[in-house]
Amino acid sequence: MSWMDGWWAYAFIAIAGWLATDIWRWLGVLAGNRLRDDSEALNWVRAVATALVAAVIAKLILYPTGVLAQSPLWLRLGSVVLGAIVFFAARQKPAAGIASAIAALAAGLWWLGF
């Protein structure tokens, strides 16, 4: 794991993390008012970006690391589904959906003896 040692780790984080994110922030500033918010190209970019983050979310739920790696899949999926139901029932309040999904997961983990 040579990336962990010394300056290379910081260079890695700076290039793949900082540069890769701030480029878009700077372009966003420069685009500012001139950017047409209704252009088809931007719509595509938006769709690709959202699908990418969604894929990351799905992977975190289906293939978690650490403690949750030993938890059953039905518990994780069930918690998310319950959270989604409460989220929509509570007029799309993020706090309600998040709290109920986490509560369901906690109850399930406790019941399974974690």
């Binding site: 780790a9 769709a47 990351v56 979310i57 975190l60 993020p94 959906g97 986490i102 974690f114």
Partner: protein
């Protein structure tokens, strides 16, 4: 509201900076901090040293980008692969920043200041700013946002630094719930902050495409799911839109 307007106009720049800083006690900021505790536990489990986690928090800031960066490090991806994955996931920052900048700037605001301030924009800061900034007098908006953004980043860097040693000793249920907070928070906040129909379609397709692509090509799953799933969502939404326009 009107009676307080005169007092608010007279508030000093420092006063506006502090008014922004107080946003740290808002619900989105508190959820974000809990998510950062969750992210911290992810980095501990991934074996990333404390100093690098604090560095990452300040310099990258956007949480989805950091999760992808950590996953790339975990799967020992090359610098080019990690850069590409993080870049593609951060495209969403550009329209967010572009939408916020006209709200923050006055004709006198220098571009370098906006470039510096843009670093503090991520999902939570953006949602907060779009919501609260219109109530702030225009000449103080950049100061107000700087107060919120800088405080939020600094607080989370400190939080990650303090919590790093503790998360390893957390009971399994707490550690598990904190890990789970990140995906659940993203799901709720992306759905909630979506302003275009294509975002809903892309979110749904991406959730299915992610695992599917992992099964087909585990090395490029995120990129494949993003490009393929996103294009599918865009094409589908476009077709639906043109049909609706025709029938209307």
């Amino acid at each position: 509201m009107d009676s307080t307007n005169r007092i608010e106009e007279e508030r000093s720049p420092l006063g506006w900076f502090l008014a922004g800083a107080r946003g740290i006690f808002s619900l989105p900021a508190i959820i974000l901090m809990l998510s950062f505790v969750g992210f911290c536990s992810l980095t501990v489990q991934a074996g990333i040293p404390l100093a690098q986690v604090v560095f990452m928090t300040g310099i990258v800031w956007a949480l989805p980008a950091k999760v992808i960066l950590v996953s790339s490090i975990l799967s020992s991806a090359s610098l080019a692969t990690a850069f590409l994955a993080v870049t593609l996931s951060s495209v969403r920052l550009m329209p967010m920043v572009a939408a916020l900048v006209p709200e923050l700037r006055t004709p006198k605001t220098p571009t370098w200041l906006l470039l510096v301030l843009s670093h503090f924009i991520a999902i939570t800061a953006w949602v907060f700013a779009m919501e609260r900034v219109p109530a702030v007098p225009r000449q103080h908006r950049a100061t107000f946002f700087a107060g919120f953004g800088i405080t939020l980043v600094a607080a989370n860097m400190a939080l990650v630094g303090i919590v790093y040693r503790l998360v390893a000793d957390f009971p399994p249920i707490v550690a598990g719930c904190l890990f789970f907070l990140t995906p659940v928070y993203f799901l709720a906040s992306i759905w909630n902050s979506a302003r275009h129909p294509v975002v809903y379609a892309a979110l749904a397709i991406g959730l299915v495409a992610g695992p599917l692509c992992y099964w087909i090509a585990p090395e490029f799953d995120i990129l494949l799911a993003g490009l393929g799933g996103g294009t599918l969502a865009w094409a589908g939404e476009r077709l639906w839109r043109s049909r609706r326009e025709k029938s209307a």
